[in-house]
């Protein structure tokens, strides 16, 4: 290798080094951007899901609170309650009501739910169909433990 070749190689090397110096920032920026995007996008997606789910629960539970409060103020009988329930649920968000007889009180109970976690239970006197009360414990986060032996299936009369 003669001196001329060595000189040319050194020029090429200095040009390559110069390019590397300019490009290395880009490489770090790119790595940093990827790390930032991965972490923030994951937080965005998880938090967005939570916020959306909670907003949805608020919207659905509003329906249950409305039925419970409207019924407490205005319903006297199961027919009144059924009417309030029907009028309130224009968007058909409620699940099919679960009707049972509470063996302890003898009252007919109607469980109105938007899902398995959130529901209200209205109780009616079987003799005169009078509304005896609405239980909102599930809406208040009080877990209600149902005794499977305490209820029996029975048809609900809405008239």
């Amino acid at each position: 290798m003669n001196f001329k070749t060595l000189t040319i190689l050194s020029v090429v090397m200095s040009v390559a080094l110069l390019i590397t110096v300019f490009m290395q920032k880009g490489s770090y920026v790119s790595q940093a951007k990827t790390a930032y995007e991965n972490q923030t996008k994951s937080a965005f997606s998880n938090a967005g899901y939570v916020v959306g789910a909670v907003n949805n629960v608020i919207q659905k539970n509003t329906l249950l609170w409305k039925i419970a409060t409207d019924a407490s103020l205005n319903a006297k009988t199961s027919k009144d309650f059924a009417l309030i329930e029907k009028r309130s649920d224009q968007a058909k968000e409620l699940m099919s009501p679960e009707i049972k007889t509470d063996k302890e009180t003898g009252y007919l109970t109607r469980k109105v739910a938007v899902n398995s976690d959130y529901y209200i239970i209205a109780s009616f006197n079987k003799k005169n169909n009078q509304l005896m009360g609405v239980n909102v414990d599930a809406l208040l986060g009080k877990i209600e433990t149902e005794d499977s032996n305490g209820f029996s299936e029975e048809d609900f009369e809405e008239n």
Partner: protein, 177 residues
């Protein structure tokens, strides 16, 4: 040949300088990248948590307001005094639940209170700045409870998670040298 020697020598010097520059910049860029990613990510997560906490606080307050409305609807007689005691009872019951205490600690609060303001015969209940329930009393008797605004209240516009800002490598970093 002398000219060639000069070019070669100059190049060797340039190469050495470039190597030094490259390594010193490498360290600087690495430190800056780590710092920017750490701080911008933490800032975004703090913003997200702020929204989540605000929503959590809202949900509990919203539930307390509904509980108040529901209980009021079930009271045979209600006057401003009994309403006040109901509010106090709901607020103190809230504090009896250990899960709620954990939440309050996370939110940096000691208690959660409903915002109720008296205006002549009215008792107005607010969620944030929005009046959501109005208890109307005629003397010592309750005339009506208007909770239409509470039914219509939609928090979906209030609690939203903003997308992360585009990455900026040169964003101003607190404490950066």
């Amino acid at each position: 040949m002398d000219k060639m020697k000069l070019i070669f020598t100059a190049n060797v010097v340039v190469i050495i300088v470039l190597i030094v520059v490259m390594f010193s910049l490498k360290g600087k860029y690495r430190d800056q990248a780590q710092l920017v990613v750490k701080e911008t990510t933490e800032a975004y997560i703090a913003e997200v948590n702020k929204t989540l906490y605000a929503q959590g606080q809202f949900v509990d307050e919203w539930n307390m307001v509904w509980e108040l409305v529901f209980e009021s609807a079930n009271k045979k007689s209600l006057n401003p005094k009994t309403l006040e005691s109901m509010i106090s009872a709901i607020e103190s019951n809230y504090l009896k639940n250990p899960k709620n205490l954990e939440k309050l600690e996370k939110w940096g609060l000691k208690e959660l209170k409903m915002r109720v303001e008296a205006e002549a015969n009215l008792r107005n209940v607010y969620l944030g700045d929005d009046k959501v329930v109005v208890f109307d009393f005629a003397g010592d008797k309750l005339k009506s409870i208007n909770y239409d605004a509470l039914i219509a209240y939609s928090p979906s516009e209030k609690f939203k998670i903003n997308e992360p800002a585009p990455f900026n490598f040169n964003s101003k970093i607190e404490g950066a040298k």
